[in-house]
Symmetry: C2
Subunit: 458 residues, 2 copies
Amino acid sequence: MQELNEKEQLQLEVEQLIQALEDENIDTFRTLFLEIHPYERAKFYSKLSSDARMHLYRFLSPTEMAEVFENLEIEENEYEDFLSEMDPTFVADMLSQMYADDAVDVLNELNKDQVASYLTIMDDEAAGEIKQLLHYEEYTAGSIMTTEYVAIHSNQTVKSAMYILKREAPQAETIYYVYVIDEEKHLAGVISLRDLIVTDDDTMVSEIMGDRVVSVSVSEDQEEVARKMKDYNLLAVPVIDFQNHLLGIITVDDIIDVMDEEASDDYSKLAGISDVDSVDKSPISAAKKRLPWLVILLFLGMLNASLIGHFEGTLEKVAILAVFIPLIGGMSGNTGTQALAVVVRGIATGDFEDENKFLLLMREAVTGAINGLICGILVIGVVFIWKGDFFLGLLVGISIFVTLIVATLAGAFVPLIMHKLKVDPAVASGPFITTINDLISIIIYFGLASLFMSYLIH
Amino acid sequence: MQELNEKEQLQLEVEQLIQALEDENIDTFRTLFLEIHPYERAKFYSKLSSDARMHLYRFLSPTEMAEVFENLEIEENEYEDFLSEMDPTFVADMLSQMYADDAVDVLNELNKDQVASYLTIMDDEAAGEIKQLLHYEEYTAGSIMTTEYVAIHSNQTVKSAMYILKREAPQAETIYYVYVIDEEKHLAGVISLRDLIVTDDDTMVSEIMGDRVVSVSVSEDQEEVARKMKDYNLLAVPVIDFQNHLLGIITVDDIIDVMDEEASDDYSKLAGISDVDSVDKSPISAAKKRLPWLVILLFLGMLNASLIGHFEGTLEKVAILAVFIPLIGGMSGNTGTQALAVVVRGIATGDFEDENKFLLLMREAVTGAINGLICGILVIGVVFIWKGDFFLGLLVGISIFVTLIVATLAGAFVPLIMHKLKVDPAVASGPFITTINDLISIIIYFGLASLFMSYLIH
C-alpha cells in the first residue's frame, strides 16, 4: 500500500509539473520541482520532450540545472543533444557549478571542440580543476575522483578544524572525512567527522587523526578502488600520486555506480552481447548490439561444420554417431562456461592474486576429470540401456570424460592467458568458449570414433 | 612502488603479530593489532590456525573481538567452528557488542539451539534487539537493517539535536543522518549531519528537516533497497513498517555487500554454477558446485540425442545433414543466452516495470528475425560456395532464420514467466536456455529437412 501511494503521488506531481511547464506557470513549477528529490528531478527532466525542456531551462538557474545533471542517467549520445538546447554560457555556468567529477563525466561525452569552447567561457577556477581531471585515463581512480574535499593541517585544534569544515561544507562532495595534509600537500592523516564532533574543542588534530590512511593511487583501476572501499567500509577514499600528494577523493556513491557498471559489463560479456544494460528502444538497436558476436560465432560454427565434414565418410557408415554430437558439444560448452566464470570472477575479485597459476589449472583439470568421470559413467549406462550397444556407450562416455577435462582446462586457461596479456579476461565470453569447446569436442569424439570404428560397425 | 611498500609493510606486521602470539607477548601483540585497520585484523584472524586463535582470544576483549567479527569474511560453515573455540559467555558478550545486523548475520549461520543458548546468557537489551531482527525473512530489508540509529524530535533545537547526536555516536552505526520521529515513533523527517553542523544552534529541527523521506518497507527485497540507495545517492535509508513506524536503518556498506552478492549470484546462474564466488580449495568442492547443473544438462542433452535418433533414417540417407547440427544448435543457444541476459538484467534493474510484456516479446521476436535474416543469408552464401549445393544452403539458412526467431523468443519468454511466477528469473541459467534451444533447433532443422528431402538426395 505504502509503495503504491508513494508512486501515485509521484505520478500526480509529474503531471502537475508538466501542466505548469505548459502554462508557463513559473512559480508553481519551481515550488513543486525544487521540492522533489534531485533524482526525481533528473528523471523528470530526462523524460521531457525537447520542447518542454526548452521551457524548463528558462525556469531554472544554472546551479539548479547542475543538480539535475549530477543525477542524470541518459544514454551517452544524448548529452550532446541536451546541451545543444541550452545557451552556451548557461551550460558553462552549469558545468562550473557541478561537482568536478560529474562535470568531467558530461564533458567526456562531447567532442574536443565542444569541450574546449565550454572550458573557454567557464570561470577560470572551475575550468582549471576540470582540465586537470580530464587528463586521467578512463577507468582509473583519477577519472572518477573529485577535487572538492576538505583538508586541514595537523597542528590545528579540533575547533579550528570544525570551523574550516563548516566553511567548506557547501562546496565539498563529502565532509564526513577530513584529510590532514602537510605544507607540501602530502597526505598525512584522516579524521572522520564522527571523531571530530565527539572530541573536545581544544584537542589537537594530530592527537586524534589516523595516520595509517587507506588510499588509492591515481592510476589504479576503478574496480580495484571499489574493492578497497568495500573491504575497508569507506565512505570516501583519498587519491594520491606516487609521491603521496593528495590529488582528490572518490566518494562511495561513485563507487556504487562503478560496481554496477563492472558487474553488468562482466555479465554482458559472459552472455556474448556488447551492452546488456542500456534499454533497447527498437529491435534494430538490440540487433546491432548482438549481431557482432553472432556473426563471429557463425563463422566459428562454420569451421566446426567443416571439421565434421571431414568425417562425412565415417558418418555415412555409422549414422548413429551424429545423434551424440550435440550432447558432447553441449556438455563441453557448459563445463567450459563454468570454468570460465569461476576464473573470470576470481581474477576480478583478486582471489587468485597470490596463487600459483599452474596449480590453479591443475585443480581445474582434476575438477573436469571428476565431473567427466561421473557424467561419463552415467552416459555409458544410459546409452547401453537405450541402444543396447556397449561399445557405442563406451565411445560416448569416454568422449565425455576426455572433453570435460579438456573443456574445463580451456575455460580456465583462456581468461588466465588474457589476464597475463593485460586483456580484460571477461572478453572471452561464454558463447566464445562454448563454440571453441564445440570444436575441441568434435575432434575428440570423431578421433575416438575412428579408433573404435571396427567395434561400431555391426 | 607505493602499493608494494604498503603490501610489504602489512606482510611484515603479520609476521610480527604471529611471532608475538607464539611468544605470548601480549603487549606487543595488542599494540600492533589494534593499530591496523579492522579489516586487516579480521583478515589476519581468519587466516590463523586454530591453536593460534586460542591464544588470540586471551589477548583481546569481547568488544575488540566484536570489531573483528564485524569485518570477518569466512565461509558460512566456519562460524560454528570459530565460535566453539571461545567461552560461551565471551561469545555472548562479543555478540552484544556487535552492531545488531552483524550479530544477526553471525547467528544466522548457527543452529537454533546454539542461537537460543547465546541469547539466554546475553544482556537483555542486546538479546531483545537481536531477537527482533532474527524474525525477518532472508533477503528482505528487515534482514539487513540495524536498530542502532539516531532519532530526534522535530520540536528540538539544532543544539539539543547535536547534543543527542554526540551522546549516541558511540553506539550508532551511522550518525550522518539523523531521523526525526513523533511520539508514536512515526518517521516524520530526516536531517543530514551536514545540514546540522552548518545551521545555527537555535534553529528548530522542524525548520530544516526534509519531510519527504526516501524510505523502504521492512519486507522489501534487498535488491530493491540497493537500487533505491543507488538512485537517490543515500548513505543510509530508514526502514519502516506499513504504518510508517521507524524500525531501523540500512547503511551503504551493507548495500555494497548486497550488490556484490546479487551481481555474483546473477553471474553464477548465467554460467550454470551454484556459487562462483567462494574460492575452491579443492577440486572436490569445485566439482560439487558444478556437477548438479552438468547432470541436469546431461539428461536434457540425452533427450536431444533421442530426438535426433528419430531422424537416424534421414541421416543415413543424407549424412551431410549432421555436419550442420552443432552450427544451428550453437547459434540458437547463443542468441537465446543473449535475450535471456537482456531480460534478466532488465528485470533486475526495474527497466521493464512499466513496459507491456507482450510488446517486449514482439520486440525480441523482431530482433531475432533481423539477426536471423542476416545470419541466414550469410549461411546460404557460405554453404553454396563451400558445398556447391544451393538447396542444402537454403535449408541451413532458413533453419538459422527460424531458430534465431524462436530461440530469441524463448530466451526472453522463460525469465519473464519465471518473474511472473515469483521465481528468481536468473535461475533460468545460460546453459539451461542453451540446451532447451538446442532441442528446439533440432526439431526445426530436421522438420525442414524432411520437407526438403527430395531436393537433398542427389
